[in-house]
Every structure is written in C-alpha cells, then in structure tokens.
Symmetry: C2
Subunit: 316 residues, 2 copies
C-alpha cells in the first residue's frame, strides 16, 4: 500500500470549519454569547428548540434566545460562574433524561471551562458537561503526549497506541502514546501526567519529565457537533527500556516505531486526525518535515496553528 | 532596571496590523491584486499617485488603477513573471531617480517573490525590488537562526548579536546570531548558511547543521510601510568553543548569554521586535516558557503564528 494522502490533506481533516461566520449563516446556527456579548461558542439550529423549552420551565431562564439575531445569551440573573454552572447542569440532565440531545448519552461527569468573563475567577464564565461541549461549540483544551526514545544506533523512535475497538470515537485508529481532554480545572502538566498513567501506565516520576512545547489549534466538525480545540503538546523522552502498558481499556496495544513508519501510517489515514496533526507538529519542530522535503510546509503550519474565534484562558 | 514589558506585549509589537480590511478602509489603502484577483499586497494611498503617473507613460501600463474599488491590478498584457518583473523594475528605478518613494533610497538590487500565480513557475507572479516590498505590502520571507550551546555545567546559552549603530533600522538593538531576508530565489537553508557566514563568520560545515524547526508569522507596520512576514526559524547547536565574529559590519559585537539574561533583555525591549518574537518561539518550543509560568501562553502563541492574508509559496 502506497502513501495516499499528503500531510496537508491530513492536517486539513481537523480544519473542516474554515469560517465560523459562513457556517453560522449557511446553517442558521446560533451564536453563544456571555452577558457582555463575548462570543464563546456556536449552537446548531436543531439543538435550540429542546434547550429553549427546558429553559422556559424556570422562573429565571438561564438563556435568552433571540431568533432574529440567532443568539443564545445568559440571562441577567446568571452573573456568576456558580449560578450559571449549576443551572446549566440541571438543564442538561433534564435534556439527557428526555433523550433530547444524543450527545448526552455519553455523560462524563467531567466539566470543561468556558473562558472570557473577566469578572470571574480565572475568567471562567461557566463549566459545561464535557458531553455537551460540542453542542455549544465551545473551545476545548487537551493534552497530547509524544512518547519518544532513541534506539541504540541513535534512531528516533515513537510510541504509538492502537485505540481499543470498543472506543466510541475512532475505534481501532492509531493515537499518540497518551492524550485526553483537560477537565474539572485540572492543571495542564497534571492532566498530562494523569493521561500517561491512565492510558499507558507511565510512572509519575517519568511522566513528570514531559516537556510542554507549545499548543496546536484547529476547528473541526464531527457528527457530534463543533470542536474548536487547543491541545497542549508535550514531548516525553522515555528510557529505551521503558514499555507503556495498556491500563484503562482505551488502548489495545502499543507499538514502538521508527519515525518513518509513523509518517507513512499518518499518510494512510491510520491515525485519529487530531493526533496526526499533533505528530506533524512534532515532525516540524524536530526538523524532520522541512520546507525542502514538504511542498506545503507553510500551509501545513497554518493548519496546525489555527487561531480560534473564542477567548482562551489567561491564567492568573 | 526591572522587567518592564510582558512577553505578550513584546510579540504584539510585531502584530500592529490586526485586521487588513479595517486598515484598508480606515486609510483608503489600495488592494494589490494579480490578474485573477488574488490579493497579494496593500499599497498606501499616498504611494498611488506617483506610481500611476509613471505607469501612464507606457503604451501598455503595468497596472490598472480602479479608484472607486481602490485596487491596483496587473494589466492583461503582463501575463508572465518575466514581463511583470522587468516592467516593475523599470518603473521603480524611475520612481527612485525622481525621489518619489522614500524607501527606494535604500535600493538593494535584491528581489522578493510574490507568490500566487498558478500559471507561473513556482507560482511566482512577479519579483519585486526588496526596498519596495513594504510599499506593496507584499508577504516577505526570511531566516532567523538561534545560535545555542551548552555550558560545561549543562546550562543553555544563546549567542546574541548587537546590531551596528550604523544600521538604518534598529541600530544598537539586540538581534539573533544571524537573520536576514530570503531574496533572489535563494533556497531556505542556503539563505540561513549565507546569513551565518556573512553576519557571524560561521563556517559552512557548521552552519549547514542548522535545523529548520518551523516558521513564525506576523503582520507589522513601520514608518516604511507594511510588513506581513514569514520567517523560517532555525536552531543551530554550536560547539562550546565556537565564537561568532562580526563580518560584514552589520553586527557590532556578539554576546554568549544564559537564557534568563536573554529573556530579561527581551522584556526590556532591547531586542529588535521580530528577533524577540522568534526567540519567544524558541523559548516555547524548548519548554522554557510554559503555560505554568506564563499567564498569556496561548495568546503569545497566536501572535507568533499569525495567519497572513496573502498566498505563500508552494514549492514544487
């Protein structure tokens, strides 16, 4: 089997929402706004009716819906992180019980922050159940860990995970050694250490050597909804004799591959797209993919560092 | 003297054109378009009259000016790279002789490519004299080389150049070990090797180990005009005993500094801004500036990887 896709085609798989405003007008989607009109997400038109019906049952509706402007804004009463988060959790659990939003079948009990409200601690406006994040189209954060080592002859090797066939998303696809969302306000390095432990049994003393080397950014759409995402990317150099072990059932098997085998597998679309994108970032940072050997070098970098239209965290 | 500026403020010095369309309407600037309407640059309103007067002297005017749409487009006769480049060089040399564009006093005899014309080799639509690139607001490319080494005790050290007081731009400011524009169709690594040799007397066999590790991108404005720029960034690990030597009069002196001294000098605005931005990129890639120690981490990355509104090269 020969290489079938270019690296540009691969990173573009994660940038399937080229322009948020075009998407909003084409699909009559609704803007999700904070009380001060900061745009923090986008709701699909079909998700609006059940959400509005549920809101209408409360004395103080959590959201105000404007159907001519197509906006969903927090009601004035909801002026703190706590009030918004509690009311939203209640509404989402009702929608879940009524089977109104299909995504809620995968309720996690893990919450994602929505940043942008300067009057709130850490600027978190509201915490949103992870399973509903793609309904609100909010910006999500994650950690992706490149587990690498060097062979005795000095060749760069990368640990690759095969996702379990029982995973609900991308079953059987290849993945980085460890990756996951950042939920419940956990720290960034803490999240990386946790994913290393949970997915690959990397001991804490090794995992904490993971080096944060940047972020990537992309805006993807899936059957679940919208995914504007900002993964924090780590490189973790492992001892040659260290072997990751599947731990939580999310990984079927780990492989230690020469980097060229990783690249050819990426080009065959065997990797989950956002993991492929983070590995292409690795290949660029380490001078393996260069402007000399890759015709679309600059456009690939643009697709790896897509600016997102929603505020990010400013940690204080 | 204490640190006065945040790293976010520093990288924003290179992003002084937040929105090209806002700038065009606010300043009645002119869009610079290829024959197929691809936007490749922006001309200041005050540069238009002398350029139009010079074009009007020719049987086949190089550019067609539309003053209601405010566009400058190549005339239909100019359908090849060669025709466009020759006619433009002639017009610019006339403007220079008449002292019409102040920038042309610094005529380089070096040309920058404008990409985007799919019918031309390497998609280069026209070659533009470097001194005029900021008048046309075309995207420019450069190389920035981080010269680093490790002390005997394992500390990361970086070579820093002090720009000569006789430089026309940013005299006396700090710079990377070597940096410069990519002109005349020179290759990217070749340009890096050339700048290392010219500015710091780095021998070719050492310079060619420079590792391309990505690009940065920003859109700056200066008194000269507009600068949408894409520097290719290299890391070059030098032997501890190697000492760069000023060679072509552009550098006054080289310093070998601990990375913390580099950072504090960046925060004091002692570096030329685009060099500072490329070093901040280095600090992020090497895990020195992280989301834990830098509150504006994500916004800094956004400012380092600004997408530009003009086509870049697609090397074939």
């Amino acid at each position: 089997m020969t290489d079938e896709y270019s690296l540009l085609e691969i990173v573009k798989l994660c940038n399937t929402v080229p322009d948020i405003n075009a998407l909003i007008s084409a699909e009559k989607a609704y803007r999700f706004l904070l009380n001060d009109d900061t745009l923090v997400g986008v709701l699909s038109n079909t998700d609006i009716a059940p959400l509005e019906a549920e809101c209408a049952k409360h004395m103080e509706p959590l959201f105000v819906f404007d159907h001519s402007l197509r906006t969903v804004v927090f009601g004035a009463f909801y002026d703190t992180q706590e009030k918004r988060s509690a009311a939203l959790a209640e509404i989402l659990s009702k929608l879940r019980a009524q089977n109104k939003w299909a995504t809620l079948a995968k309720w996690c009990g893990e919450t994602f922050p929505v940043f942008g409200d300067k009057s709130q601690p850490n600027e978190v406006a509201v915490w949103v159940e992870r399973a509903a994040s793609s309904n609100f189209g909010i910006r999500a954060y994650g950690v992706h860990i490149n587990g690498i080592t060097w062979s005795k002859s000095g060749e760069l090797l990368m640990w690759v995970a095969k996702r379990s066939m029982s995973k609900s998303t991308w079953p059987g696809y290849l993945d980085q050694m460890a990756a996951g969302g950042i939920g419940n306000g956990l720290g960034i390095l803490e999240s990386a250490i946790k994913e290393c432990e949970e997915e690959a049994k990397v001991p804490r003393d090794i995992a904490m050597k993971a080096k944060l080397v940047g972020t990537t950014g992309y805006f993807m759409r899936s059957e679940l909804g919208l995914h504007p995402e900002t993964p924090y990317v780590f490189d973790l150099e492992l001892p040659l004799d260290f072997v990751p072990v599947p731990n939580d059932g999310e990984v079927e098997e780990f492989y230690l591959w020469e980097i060229n085998k990783v690249i050819s597998s990426i080009k065959k679309k065997l990797f989950k797209p956002n993991c492929a994108l983070c590995i292409v970032d690795f290949l660029i940072r380490h001078g393996i993919v260069t402007a000399e050997n890759e015709p679309n070098y600059i456009e690939i970098i643009n697709n790896i560092h897509r600016p997102l239209p929603f505020p990010g965290p400013r940690r204080v």
